[in-house]
Homo-oligomer: 238 residues x 2
DNA sequence: CGTGAACTTGAGATTTCTCAAGCGGGGTGG
DNA sequence: CCACCCCGCTTGAGAAATCTCAAGTTCACG
């Protein structure tokens, strides 16, 4: 159940057997979410952490008039609302696809962190990587064209999913709509659609029915000015 | 020397006398940076943490062709490269104004964190707040007009500086150029300049020679769609 | 008095947006 | 089993925001 979490935490350094056993012993309540369903809402002060076990999720803020900004995507092994441990939520988290989520009581989490500095440090590190990703998104929204921005996002997800073994033969599932894509990148759906066609036309990728196919990985990286260093992964999808 | 840091860490909950004394006992080497000088550079793997003692600093990434994106501003009491403790730097940090910086060896920092869970937690919380600010910037760059974006940034800094007691009579020092402003918000200098004039013309603020004067705080907040909740401050400048 | 950085202005070029409408497939009720 | 409907995708076209280029101004500083 927590396999992906341990994997995630061990990306940069092994945990002790003791640490691993403590994680495995976490009390976990399972729940399933349907696509689009909210897992936490802005303003909540959650009493549990939500560990994504299968499926994808995303963080977002929605303004009064309906404009929405998606701020990150989450893959299995991520805790989607870790900040809820210390702060109230200033944004919402929703399921992208059908998702299985493990609920871990804050009390258990706090005990785990206080008793296991190595886990605390590893979890903090995943947090820092998330912040690095957020900064890279800022660079994109502030300083890159729509074309580069879209290319970059696909590079990022391709690399992240690849690192989890979810890329096969240049293909991976990435079940988002063009609306999600637009809301991630700060674009209109219309423009996103046209730029997507350009990327396809340039032979870089196809994206259809929630499946991403990368036809020209070096070309796509160049188009997106993608340098995976900020992901702090150990290896990158070939 | 570390007064601001303790203040910062105690924003949400007191530390014990023991914790406070441990912080005060940190070995600290002082160094001064001139405006624009780099404190850490992308790619560095620092061996010390940089605690900002006086002055302002900012994080940024610069692309090959010179486009730059500023990703955050830092005030006294912030550790500007805390992620260097666990990761290599994927961006640079530079001094905005003349700044005094305390260098703390990573070894001392690690010992402090491992021995004092409360400090570890408090520091993590400041990190989470930073991430929240980053998300709000994303909303701005993705979904707000230049006018709202500029207003919002000034609201944010006014609130943050106000919370530190650095606002007096609706005025505060915020020593950035219009170029910095543009690079923070993903705008061209020309456009920034014109929008700034509009904000001044609408009687919301003046910004000249690195001094921000807020003439109409409610109006400015409305223009920027500013809701300080994401800053997770205890109080907001009046 | 000369110089450079920051700021300002003008004007045309681009990117991206908005509005409006048509298309297509999967799901549902009759 | 079929018609209908909705959501997501696509296209067209004019509008708006923002950018780039180019030059002029101001002011602090040496």
């Amino acid at each position: 159940m927590v396999g992906r979490l341990v994997e995630n935490l061990e990306l940069y350094g092994r945990l002790s057997e003791l640490d691993r056993r403590a994680i495995a012993a976490l009390p976990l309540t399972l729940r399933r979410f349907e696509p689009g369903e909210d897992m936490v809402i802005e303003g909540d002060a959650p009493s549990h952490c939500r560990l994504l076990i299968s499926g994808l999720a995303f963080r977002h803020k929605t303004l009064r008039d309906g404009r929405r900004q998606i701020m990150s995507f989450h893959v299995p092994g991520d805790i989607c609302d870790i900040e809820g441990l210390l702060l109230s939520m200033d944004h919402s988290v929703s399921a992208l696809s059908r998702a299985e989520v493990g609920f871990i009581p804050h009390l258990a989490m706090e005990a785990l962190l206080d008793g296991h500095p190595a886990i605390s440090r590893a979890l903090w590190r995943t947090e820092l990587v998330e912040a690095a990703v957020a900064r890279e998104w800022m660079v994109g929204m502030g300083r890159r064209t729509a074309y580069a921005r879209i290319a970059h996002l696909f590079c990022e997800m391709y690399a992240r999913l690849g690192a989890m073994g979810l890329v096969e033969n240049g293909r991976c599932r990435f079940p988002i709509t063009q609306t999600h894509l637009s809301d991630s990148l700060g674009l209109s759906v219309v423009h996103t659609n046209r730029v997507l066609q350009a990327l396809r036309g340039d032979g870089l990728l196809s994206f259809r029915g929630g499946e991403l196919i990368v036809h020209d990985w070096p070309g796509l990286q160049a188009a997106g000015e993608f340098d995976p260093a900020y992901l702090h992964l150990r290896s990158v999808a070939a």
